[in-house]
């Protein structure tokens, strides 16, 4: 396969789409296809198709975790991109769950974080950052230099060796470093690629739609407040 997969994750409004636009701008529109996965509403597919004239697709995950949905559709999406002759598939996740991660073994995993999100934010999103290849820090134009450097230190506490690129994603400052990394990417292998991390064991009865509150009403993985670990209760 000749398609390279760039998986872009990060919390809402972090600047994922702004980074995507900079990547498209640098790669040239001829080579790129775009997939957005969101829960109920997203406009990026139309916006990017209009702005760059590239093929785009969107999938709503509805009741499912958007990252799980991404994992379901990504193999088909790579084949779709290949048929179109694209060399890169940019896959933007909704980034809501912050525990699941969309990065696959042969993808380039980008974790987009905003410099205005507070110093503890990286610690709260540890899996999202630790399994990524690059952390892209956006909105550096809105903070002072010292604060930017402290934010970087916070990221390194979650993921000591991770490559960090700081950018004003609206202008595209320092994107050249990201482009160097993208230029060295290997193509995906749609059938062989697996997830990098193990997603959380999400089998509780909240997952299947039971609305009652309190562990007493549920099966599968449960948790009373006073017990320090998750318990399993069969039906």
């Amino acid at each position: 396969m000749n398609v390279r997969l760039i998986a872009i994750a990060g919390p809402p409004s972090a600047g994922k789409t702004a980074v995507v636009k900079q990547i498209i701008h640098n790669l040239g529109t001829a080579k790129v296809a775009y997939l957005k996965i969101d829960v109920v509403q997203a406009w990026e597919d139309e916006e990017l198709a209009t702005e760059f004239g590239i093929p785009t697709k969107k999938v709503y995950s509805g009741d499912m975790c958007p990252d799980h949905m991404g994992i379901m559709v990504i193999r088909d999406a790579l084949l779709w991109a290949e048929e179109l002759g694209a060399e890169y598939l940019l896959y933007e996740s909704a980034g809501l769950c912050l525990r699941c991660t969309p990065y696959t073994t042969n993808s380039l995993g980008l974790c987009v974080l905003s410099a205005v999100s507070g110093t503890h934010a990286p610690l709260k999103m540890a899996p999202l950052i630790a399994l990524a290849d690059v952390a892209v820090v956006t909105k550096i134009d809105l903070v002072s230099q010292a604060e930017k450097e402290v934010f970087r230190e916070g990221i390194h506490q979650s993921a000591p060796g991770i490559d960090i690129i700081e950018t004003n994603a609206v202008q595209g400052t320092s994107m050249r470093y990201l482009m160097q990394i993208i230029k060295q990417m290997k193509p995906a292998e749609s059938e062989k690629d697996t997830l990098r991390g193990v997603p959380p064991l999400g089998v509780c009865t909240v997952c299947i739609g039971k609305k009652e509150t309190g562990w007493q009403e549920h099966f599968g993985v449960i948790r009373p407040l006073a017990v320090p670990d998750n318990l399993y209760r069969g039906e």
């Binding site: 205005v116 507070g118 110093t119 503890h120 550096i140 134009d141 809105l142 903070v143 002072s144 230099q145 010292a146 604060e147 450097e149 402290v150 934010f151 970087r152 230190e153 916070g154 960090i164 690129i165 700081e166 004003n168 202008q171 595209g172 400052t173 320092s174 994107m175 050249r176 470093y177």
Partner: protein, 263 residues
């Protein structure tokens, strides 16, 4: 090549374009250790954009399309990306810090980012902060609870003591009501190259070179030499008078007429 150990001999700004895309009208602007430069011009004329270009080592990738060279060539990647090697400290116009940390934790994380040990550096930074601001701060206060002036004072002290960079960029230092004379004195003592963005005549005349901005571009570069000495002396006097007034008002006095000398 190991540029990171080479001291900064010069920093060069190459021209870009103004707001409507026309090329800027200068060949290059060189900055050396110990230089003092002010950037003046109307609101929105591109002063902040100019020093921002320097801080991010722009390579034609900002709105202004300017390029920054270090010692005459494109700076190496680690000089730009590793804070421990970065020769620049910038204090922005914003006076709010969003970090949800105490002053002490914030400074110690910055020390770590700059790969330094805390041999009293942290206390020195807080002490210096308190020379710039009227109301003192302490290590256990939260960053987000500091006032605009306290935040700015802390960032200046942080730039001097922790970043200890040879080039310091200050965006409207006079705005937050901090003791600007004390700031300027400190920076001079430390032999830093200083670039002030300023609307303050006194700060502007204190510097050796003055860059005038207009429409997003460098409009003029002035090197007054001795020409402005008389004006500077007069402005220094006016500024000292204003300072006395400001402090009297701050301390709650009622003022009678203030015309003429001996305020």
């Amino acid at each position: 090549m190991t540029l990171q150990n080479t001291p900064i001999q010069s920093l060069t700004v190459l021209p870009g374009t103004n707001r409507i895309g026309d090329p800027e009208n200068f060949n290059e602007i060189s900055i050396h250790p110990g230089d003092t430069i002010s950037i003046v011009g109307p609101t929105g004329s591109g002063k902040t954009a100019f020093i921002n270009d320097i801080e991010v080592f722009a390579q034609g990738d900002t709105v202004t399309r300017r390029k920054i060279l270090v010692n005459g060539s494109e700076p190496s990647e680690d000089l730009i990306r590793d804070p421990a090697k970065k020769p620049i400290a910038m204090i922005t116009q914003s006076t709010k810090c969003l970090a949800d940390l105490t002053v002490e934790k914030f400074l110690s994380m910055h020390l770590r980012a700059r790969k330094l040990e805390n041999n009293g550096i942290l206390d020195a930074a807080i002490d210096l902060t308190n020379q710039f601001t009227g109301e003192k701060i302490s290590g256990c206060m939260r960053m987000s609870s500091l006032s605009g002036g306290q935040t700015r004072s802390l960032f200046v002290a942080d730039a001097v003591i922790i970043s200890d960079a040879p080039i310091i960029l200050l965006d409207e230092v006079e705005n937050a009501g901090i003791f600007k004379n004390r700031v300027i004195e400190t920076l001079r003592e430390k032999k830093k190259a200083i670039i002030f963005v300023t609307h303050d005549p006194y700060v502007a005349l204190l510097t050796e070179k003055r860059i005038v901005m207009k429409g997003g571009a460098v409009e003029k570069i002035l090197t007054p030499g001795g020409e402005e000495q008389t004006a500077l002396a007069q402005i220094a006097k006016m500024d000292a008078d204003m300072m006395v007034l400001r402090e009297r008002i701050r301390s709650g006095e009622l003022l009678s007429a203030v015309t003429g000398a001996g305020i």
